[in-house]
Amino acid sequence: MKSLHILLLEDTIADSQNIINLLSKDYNITLANTIKKAKDTLASSLFDLAILDISINGKLDGIEFAKHIQSTPTPIPFFFLTSMQSRAVFDQAKLTKPFTYLLKPFNVMELQYSIELVIEKHFEQKNALRSNTGLLTPDYLLIKKQDKICKVILDTIEYVEVEENYSTLYTSNQNHVIKKSLSKIKEMLLDKNFEQIHRKFLINFDKITEINLSENTVYLSPGFQASISERFKKKLIHRYGIIT
């Protein structure tokens, strides 16, 4: 599991300090106080989200940078911070629709809500985070965990245990519970190398270290194992290429 990497464009020290205080516990934040630095930073590392103060050094550089983000091959979600709810300012920002903004001053909850809102909007998966079904991006799964959003790289999942409408994703360092049924989970992992070996288990094929047919157990990375049911045994053996 990894924290989201957020790019913050903010020129007021008090404001940027406040935001860092509010978010650094849950997220990695990179601060830029000019549009030039922001562009350089965006080019040099990967970000999951950008928080942009509209007015940078008296200019509407926040909007300018938003346009820059949208012109990149893989635009990241972003939202604006502003101290004024004036339409005149936003009329220019309309070019970057759909956009979200947050009026200063704000508290951590409002900030958190805006982050969720903007990610859901960006990936067009409404309510995916708040309802805890997991938000799937091309590279990873975003999960809301105790009011913070974290990303799970699907390949790091050892196996999945399904119980009714909930699935537990086991990774090497943490377990994540999301609200997804077996069929939904299978659908999500369709183009990944996963195989169902039991009514309740899906295993990551790449993580298999040993298949013990006498114990009906698959051994994955150290410390992870899952049982095989008779129903799925043949298919697993066939796929794994073991001749009994």
């Binding site: 709810q85 004036s86 909850m109």
Partner: protein, 574 residues
């Protein structure tokens, strides 16, 4: 000499003999017979005889000739047609055609005597006296002529024929017959001419006494009669006779009388000529009048055109005036709207100034004084009092900041400059986020802040920032007016597809006048606010923004203590 005299006289007498065209009894029988035969069956024949009896010679002549082409075989009808054609030809003086046609009529033709009569007249016209007499005799033998007029004419003609042939006794016999008929029918003119004829007859036989007696009779009769030609003829006769008798004086008198009658004749002609002239003049006058009328009409037409043109010009002028007037009205309207807008802006500005001077200035001044006090407290190292004062200052700054935000947002709203971007939001999260800020304040004031969400995940279509401003103000008010140890409960629920948010406090409550203003006006204009002093800018802003977000806003005083704010929003269906 004698011959000359004779000729002179005779010319006068032959004149009436060719007149036959008068309608008389003899033609009634003929007309009836023809109608019986025709009965309108034959178009041309019918037209021919109709025109014939109506004395339309040319038409009768034309149609009779066409009708003759219709009937190839000789019959009763061709006889009639030949008769009609012949008589018409005779009357038009086509004597040879007339003679030819009349001669082709069959001998069994029931009106043979009329045929002979006409042939006789033709012969007479051609000066063939013997032939004429032959036909006249046939007619006399038939003895079928009914009309005394025709008889008289015939006797006259017969007499003339005999006269030409110098058969004087026969001539005398027929002329006397003519005279007797004329006298019987009281035909004075005929009588005069008959007497003249007789006079001539005797004169030619040198029976001068007898002749003169007749001439005298004729002259006397003519004198009493109105016919000028007769007077002239008899006078001239008398003049010739007297001249021959060498009674020159008498002759001259008669000539003078003749001349007089000739002059009167000439006068008559002259008069008719004058009448004709007069007529022409009248016509000319009439023409002139017509011409004048035409001119007048033309002028009137010109006047009408002039009128039309001037009307158009006036109309165009009026239209232009109207157009300009409308432009002016439009400008006026625009100016009026602008004036109203300006007035509104001015009121807004004044209101803002009053808010700034009251709400803002007071708290900033208080802050200023408190800071002075704080410095003094710090100088004397009274830390405890300083901390208390600092806490107070913090809350004053916070409320001042709130007032400032409100003023700004309110001004933006008044100028329609607020960004409004409604989206579906989980409203409870927004509520919790705002309440999160007030928790420390509530704890400081020892106010219990309770939140009850009966339904989670309700989505409401609203602009989240505007809603937050409104809600923040409501909670701020609730905390401000609730005594220490009081309670504020926020309850959300869903009823009939409406999200209901209740904010209930145990504060001081509100005056009925303010409640009336806030509950009863859909839009809180500056004018209305001005009338109800004491209604804070925060509450106005809340109501305006909630309404803008399609919500309803209502405040009631609780039965026991404090107020409850009811907000309702339509639920966004997923």
């Amino acid at each position: 000499m004698k011959i000359n005299k004779l000729k002179k006289l005779l010319i006068l007498f032959l004149l009436p003999c060719c007149v036959f065209s008068q309608k008389n009894e003899d033609h009634f029988a003929l007309e009836n017979s023809i109608k019986k035969v025709c009965k309108g069956k034959y178009t041309n024949f019918h037209k021919a005889h109709t025109f014939f009896f109506e004395k339309k010679k040319d038409s009768a002549f034309l149609y009779s000739s066409q009708a003759l082409n219709d009937f190839i075989e000789e019959s009763e009808i061709t006889d009639y047609l030949n008769y009609i054609h012949g008589v018409n030809a005779y009357e038009k003086k086509f004597f040879s055609i007339a003679q030819k046609k009349l001669k082709t009529i069959s001998s069994t033709f029931p009106y043979k005597y009329l045929v002979d009569y006409n042939l006789a007249n033709i012969a007479l016209n051609n000066n063939k006296y013997e032939e004429a007499l032959h036909h006249y005799n046939v007619v006399i033998n038939y003895n079928k002529i009914q009309s005394s007029h025709t008889l008289k004419r015939m006797y006259h003609n017969v007499g003339i024929c005999y006269l030409h042939l110098k058969k004087y006794p026969e001539s005398e016999k027929f002329l006397l017959k003519e005279l007797s008929i004329a006298q019987n029918t009281k035909d004075t003119l005929s009588a005069i001419y008959a007497k003249l004829d007789l006079g001539n007859l005797y004169y030619q036989q040198y029976k001068d006494n007898k002749a003169i007696s007749y001439f005298n009779k004729a002259y006397t009769l003519a004198k009493l009669f109105s016919n000028i030609e007769a007077k002239q003829a008899t006078a001239k006769n008398m003049a010739v006779v007297e001249k021959n008798r060498k009674h020159y004086k008498k002759s001259v008198d008669y000539y003078i009388e003749y001349g007089k009658w000739r002059d009167s004749l000439w006068n008559r002609d002259k008069i008719s000529e004058l009448l004709e002239k007069d007529k022409q003049i009248t016509v000319a006058v009439k023409d002139k009048e017509i011409f004048i009328q035409k001119e007048i009409a033309k002028k009137q037409k010109g006047r009408v055109q002039l009128f039309a043109i001037s009307f158009i010009i006036v109309f165009l002028f009026l239209a232009t005036l109207l157009f300009l007037y409308r432009i002016k009205i439009k400008q006026h309207k625009l100016i009026n709207t602008q004036k109203q807008q300006l007035e509104k802006l001015n009121t807004t500005k004044n209101y803002l100034l009053s808010v700034i001077s009251h709400d803002l200035r007071t708290s900033v001044n208080l802050l200023k004084n408190n800071h002075k006090n704080l410095s003094e407290l710090l100088n004397i190292n009274d830390t405890e009092a300083a901390i208390l004062l600092n806490n107070e200052n913090t809350s004053i700054s916070e409320s001042t900041s709130q007032v400032l935000d409100n003023i700004l947002n309110w001004a933006l709203q008044q100028n329609d400059q607020l960004l409004f971007m409604p989206e579906a939001h989980p409203i409870e999260i927004l509520i919790d986020a705002i309440l999160f800020d007030f928790k420390p304040l509530a704890i400081t004031k020892n106010i219990e802040l309770v939140t009850i969400h009966k339904n989670s995940d309700a989505l409401v279509l609203l602009d989240k920032e505007l809603f937050k401003i409104a809600f923040r103000n409501l909670i701020d008010n609730a905390i401000k007016y609730t005594q220490k140890g009081g309670k504020i409960s926020i309850e959300t629920s869903i009823l009939d597809k409406e999200f209901i948010l209740k904010i209930k406090d145990t504060g001081v409550g509100m005056s009925p006048t303010i409640l009336d203003v806030i509950n009863n006006y859909e839009a809180l204009t500056v004018e209305k606010i001005e009338k109800s002093k004491g209604l804070g800018i925060g509450l106005q802003l809340s109501k305006t923004l909630i309404t803008k977000n399609n919500g309803t806003f209502k405040i009631v005083n609780n039965p026991d203590v404090g107020i409850t704010v009811f907000l309702k929003f339509p639920i966004q269906e997923i």
